[in-house]
Subunit: 222 residues, 2 copies
């Protein structure tokens, strides 16, 4: 357990240093193909022969680089999970509090924009992550740990800071964070998965959603 924990923590540290492992050409092809098919059909429904074929590689080559099929999945899902929460680990994230963001909504807008762009640039990887996390206990633990120990912990401090300034209402920080996350994740899922045809301006939509989040949907006569 503690080994696991250290593993993704090291991975996070490595990420901030921009240290990528050297991959051979064929290995890159394998990863590319695996991501493509995992995202489309799911991990369990994907065969290694299919991956090999799409990658233009012999099946044995896959197992030279990855002990098992599951190992291949983890080497895809692990890093993306780390990258997803990486910004919250940044050393200056806590300092975000008193430096660039004087207003709470500016802060939320900034985070939302950044993570939405990230999601758009890594759609397939995030699809894989969402789908396979519930079935891979190790991934599940990793995600839970990251969300509670990094994201929730950091966000809690930020929310408390804005509460002290009277910019946010006096409610349990976790509920505020949960609500904000729900709103934006719901927005992403709705527009990316449910209505991908219907085009919209990301920044504009974020602003409108942020408005609802900050001031609610209640009208004057409520």
């Amino acid at each position: 357990m503690s080994e696991r924990k250290e593993q993704w923590l090291e991975e996070l540290i490595r990420l901030t240093e921009g240290d990528e492992k050297k991959k051979t050409d064929k290995q890159a092809k394998i990863l590319e193909a695996a991501i493509e098919i995992f995202a489309e059909k799911g991990f369990a429904a994907t065969s290694t022969s299919e991956i090999a074929q799409k990658a233009g590689v012999a099946e044995g080559t896959i197992f030279r680089h990855y002990k098992t099929k599951k190992d291949l999945l983890l080497s895809i899902a692990g890093p993306i999970a780390s990258k997803l929460v990486a910004p919250f680990l940044a050393r200056d994230f806590a300092k975000v509090i008193d430096l660039p963001y004087e207003k709470a909504d500016d802060f939320f807008r900034s985070v939302a924009r950044d993570r939405l762009r990230f999601a758009r640039n890594n759609e397939k990887l995030i699809r894989i992550l969402i789908h396979e996390v519930p079935f891979q206990p190790e991934l599940m633990e990793q995600m839970k740990a990251m969300l509670t120990e990094i994201v929730a912990a950091r966000m809690k401090r930020v929310v408390e800071h804005f509460q002290n300034q009277g910019q946010l209402i006096e409610a349990p920080p976790w509920r505020i964070v949960r609500s904000a996350a729900s709103m934006f994740i719901g927005m992403i899922i709705f527009h990316v998965i449910l209505a991908p045809d219907f085009p919209f301006d990301d920044d504009e939509e974020i602003d409108r959603t942020l408005d609802l989040l900050m001031h609610g949907i209640s009208g004057r006569k409520a």
Copy 2:
């Protein structure tokens, strides 16, 4: 396509009339076992032999009742999808507008409570639904159709009604519906999946979440 559409529409009508098909003992056992394992390991990772074993039934028996494994999945996921949106189809749903609910938040509270209870009573089925919908095009189409033609359409009318009364702000109804849905679905996922240990009072939590939804998270000095 139109045949498909009629299929789940008929299913919905049947549901309102409480018409359940007669099942044999072993068939019930098969469904029970399949739901259990599908929810735990996912459809693709589940073998028919495993289902048969858990159901205490010969493997051939499964295929007497269901042509294929996929057929078995659809006969589980289809009905639960229908039941999930069924309340929105109720004839009196539109009338909900001028009869029992004078206040918008009472309406939202009522819907949230009802569907949360439904989700709690059908946790495994909903898990299966969420997980397999993206991979089964037919299910995907069914869900999209239901969400747009039934849920969204009805909710739009209700929101517009409350907007006319000045109880809700003048924003696009779909965005208001999306925000409300995101908040409550986020609440459910958070408490059911991410923090199942941490016990909480459903109705109380719904009220607090509804508060945030109605009035936002912005403080006095914002």
